[in-house]
Amino acid sequence: MVKKTIFFDKDKCIGCCACIIACKMKHNSPPHPTIPPQGEPTGMNLISVYHFGPAFSEDRVIQFFQPLSCMHCLDAPCINVCPTNAIYADSETGAVLVNQKRCIGCKVCIWACPYGALHLDSKGRMEKCDMCIDRIKKGKLTACEATCVARAIFVGTPEEVSQIQAKKAMAKIKDESPG
């Protein structure tokens, strides 16, 4: 199997956040501990969606939504800094995974992650997106990709991601070209 990566297409995402709930369903995540009326919920999800805008430039609306989870970096800083080798790359898929039994909760991986995509679970062990590794190995889509109504999430090879972006760039050039 060729190594896979996750691609979040901010040009397509509508910010519906179904991916967040699909991920919670897949991983049977408990609800966050603090709910109203005590205060604002606290807790992290394995995937987040950030809203930018709207802002306005002349007559254009600038607004987009950016989903973000672990990027499953090919040269992952979290793996490099982990003192107990709890984080590793799956040899088959390239998914960056964590062996929670080895994790000591030192949090150095959280410092190292350039995306803020890692956090500790309620037991103080590092928790992150596992690329739905069991689904991927069965040939299924990740829970987030499968549920995405906007088709804004894609798990595939870096080459496939390049092709998606190239296609978009060409469409834009075609739109803007005279005639």
Binding site: G15, I21, A22, F64, T147, V149
Partner: protein, 711 residues
């Protein structure tokens, strides 16, 4: 049910009906995901996926309950189903005997697949007082389609006729996240990839605003003026579909005269949409066809409801989009026929229909067979002799959902006997005499046919309901068996067999099959050119044409041509009030996580959005000293509520948009009046003359920060 079993079913978390796969192990649900082999292609939204938190919510109702103590005291006694059902039907029978059938009201909330069962129960009792929110949500649109075109039209995103929409217009509609009435977000988003033009008509920069080539930031409540202005451009520039208009429409000359009162410069003043954008949008709609129109509910939640819809339907008609592939199509239903017949086939006595609440005024409401809720509660408040005495409500929270909550509440307290069927002890259930526990859709069998479209699908029970909870269908059938046995069935399965009989398939067979559909080459287009609706061609309207001049409205004494009236409250209609309440208020900010009053007790969804939000423009907020996340009072002459400020630059600084239907299951009193947007709305007249619709999207309000001393 064996271990690790995969069950195919249909989601009922909103109107849509997405295909679902449920994994069940040891009698418990372990996974919920979209079904890739369904029309929704494996996609699901947050609400549907969070259903597991509904199924296993410890606060679910488990047993039928009878009130102890005063109404609203929340003291209950467990009773048997037999006692519960017999108590309800005995009260119904007594009311019918003493006051006639209209003394019984059967009510439900937004459509949930059992609409036709609700209607059948009301019809079998013989009451005209079938209560629902249809006058402000979808039914009025269907009625307007019926009198104008002869049937409902839906955007064709499927390409079965060889074309996809070249232009898509989202008119007060965000199908990408909400309100899938017949169309589904996944179909729309896929068609959007292929469309050349995307036009948004909305007071707010919606989630797709950056992808639109034109966003018309309309003043709330002025939709009819905008559509009339566009028609002015299209007709005066000769851009309309001359062939279609000539052969297939009625009253074009009168429409042409009418739109002369709406030149673009005047419409720009009314709607706050710049003149050049109105003209540009009109030209795109007329020339870049086929065009698919997604029409939203705000057009109906208006005192100009019928004419808002009439204006937009006339616009899509004169641009030649009716029954054109990639345009607006009336889908041919499956071989099972029109499943809605199950609701309609029992005749309601003429005197009941004539005497239904609002029946003397709102003639389109009478045609729809749904009574006028505001009148029902008004009659109750005023001890009108015609008032409802017994009310059975299923899946509805009138206190939160209808205009002017405090007035609705006062009326509800005067109902002689109230029964409520729900999954939870809802704000409305708390004031009932008998409460019935309802099974979740994952615990129910059913035929999902929320709207007549090109397919319907099976809802298949995945797990057993908690305690003695039963499906909505079962409850309707058991009530029906007791009150009008000749119209009801031995069991629910026999109902489903009966509904499927024309397709020559049983429920057991259908359940395995999963759905019945008519797609591709089996879906005819241009049906008016054949004998489909009328011998020799034509539409199912009195004139056989698309009625730009509507003979039905003329007969009823309403304006037969589309027209614009100013909202009851606005800077222009009530300038004095505007000085005190200087912002335009819409209560139309939909959420991603809740469906009207539902899901506030769902932990996964509530943690996504714990509190209600009100959109305020940053400039306005700065002027009022309000920061993002501050609690803000929103006040109208009816009362005030608080929600949290969401500073949002994508609205006009003069407009404020709140979320609706908020309550707090975790608070002892449900926080019923704290954040409920219908504390702000009004059911005062005048409402829409034909449907009785009231305004939810264009009121006046003032806002100020919640501070010590004003809380």
């Amino acid at each position: 049910m064996s271990d690790g079993q995969m069950i195919k079913t249909t989601c009922k978390s909103c109107h849509g009906g997405c295909g679902v796969l449920v994994t069940v192990s040891g009698g418990a649900i372990t996974q919920i995901e979209g079904n890739p082999d369904s029309f929704t292609k494996g996609t699901m939204c947050a609400k549907g996926l969070a259903s597991i938190q509904e199924v296993y919510n410890p606060n679910r109702l488990r047993y039928p309950l009878k009130r102890k103590g005063e109404r609203g005291e929340d003291q209950w006694e467990r009773i048997s189903w037999g006692e519960a059902l017999n108590t309800i039907t005995q009260n119904m029978r007594d009311a019918v005997a003493q006051f006639g059938p209209n003394a019984v009201c059967i009510g439900q909330g937004t459509g949930r697949g059992y609409n036709i069962h609700t209607m059948r129960l009301a019809s079998s009792i013989g009451t005209g007082n079938l209560m629902g929110p249809g006058h402000v949500c979808y039914i009025s649109r269907l009625m307007t389609y019926a009198i104008t075109v002869g049937g409902r039209l839906m955007p064709d995103f499927h390409g079965w006729g060889g074309e996809f929409p070249k232009t898509i217009i989202a008119w007060a509609r965000q199908l990408e996240t909400n309100n899938p009435e017949n169309e589904m977000g996944v179909w729309f988003l896929s068609a959007l990839e292929k469309a050349k033009n995307f036009i948004i008509v909305d007071p707010r920069a919606t989630r797709l605003a950056s992808r639109a080539n034109l966003w018309l930031r309309i003043r709330p409540g002025t939709d009819a003026a905008l559509a009339l202005g566009m028609m002015n451009v299209i007709i005066n520039e000769g851009l309309y579909d001359q062939e279609f208009v000539h052969h297939w429409t009625f009253g074009f000359d009168q429409l042409r005269d009418r739109v002369q009162s709406y030149p673009p410069h005047r419409v720009a003043e009314i709607t706050w949409v710049p003149e050049e954008k109105i003209i540009k949008a009109a030209r795109i709609l007329a020339t870049e066809t086929p065009a698919a129109f997604m029409i939203g509910e705000p057009l109906e939640a208006s005192n100009n409801c019928t004419q808002n819809n009439r204006a937009v339907i006339c616009l899509l008609a004169i641009t030649g989009n009716i029954e054109r592939p990639g345009g607006m199509v009336n889908w041919k239903v499956t071989e099972a026929g029109d499943l809605e017949e199950f609701g309609r086939e029992i005749r309601v006595p003429k005197e009941s229909r004539g005497g239904m609440a609002g029946g003397d005024r709102y003639k389109l409401g009478v045609l729809s067979r749904i009574a006028h809720p505001d009148t029902i509660f008004k009659q109750l408040r005023e001890d009108d002799p015609k008032r409802v005495r017994v009310m059975h409500l299923q899946g509805t929270n009138p206190i939160l959902s209808y205009a002017n909550s405090k007035a609705v509440f006062a009326g509800l307290l005067k109902v002689g006997f109230l029964s409520v069927a729900d999954l939870y002890m809802s704000p409305t259930a708390r004031y009932a005499d008998v409460v019935l526990p309802v099974a979740h859709w994952l615990e129910s069998d059913g035929i999902w046919d929320e709207h007549a479209r090109f397919y319907f699908s099976a809802m298949v029970k995945a797990v057993e309901p908690p305690g003695e909870a039963r499906s909505d269908y079962w409850i309707y059938n058991e009530l029906g068996k007791r009150i009008a046995p000749q119209y009801w069935f031995e069991n629910v399965e026999m109902i489903f067999d009966y509904q499927l009989r024309k397709a020559n398939i049983t429920w057991e067979e259908f359940k395995k099959k999963g759905l019945l559909a008519r797609t591709g080459k089996d879906q005819p287009y241009y049906k008016y050119k054949s004998d489909y609706w009328r011998d020799g061609g034509g539409f199912r309207t009195p004139t056989g044409k698309v009625e730009l001049f509507c003979t039905t409205l003329e007969k009823f004494g309403y304006d037969p041509l589309p027209s614009y009236v100013e909202p009851n409250e606005s800077p222009y209609s009530t300038p004095e009030l505007f000085k005190e309440y200087p912002f335009i208020l819409s209560t139309g900010l939909r959420t991603l996580y809740f469906f009207h009053t539902q899901y506030r007790q769902n932990a996964w969804l509530r943690e996504r959005q714990p509190y209600p939000l009100v959109q305020i423009h940053p400039d306005t907020a700065q002027r009022l000293g309000i920061q993002d996340g501050d609690w803000v009072w929103i006040e109208t002459p009816r009362g005030r509520i608080k929600q949290k400020a969401w500073l949002f630059a994508g609205i006009d600084p003069r407009v404020v948009i709140t979320q609706h239907a908020w309550w707090y299951p975790e608070k002892p009193d449900h926080g019923l009046w704290e954040s409920n947007a219908n504390v702000l709305t009004t059911s005062d007249l005048p409402c829409d003359p034909a449907t009785g619709a009231t305004t939810f999207r264009a009121l006046l309000c003032r806002i100020y920060k919640v501070e010590e001393g004003n809380g």
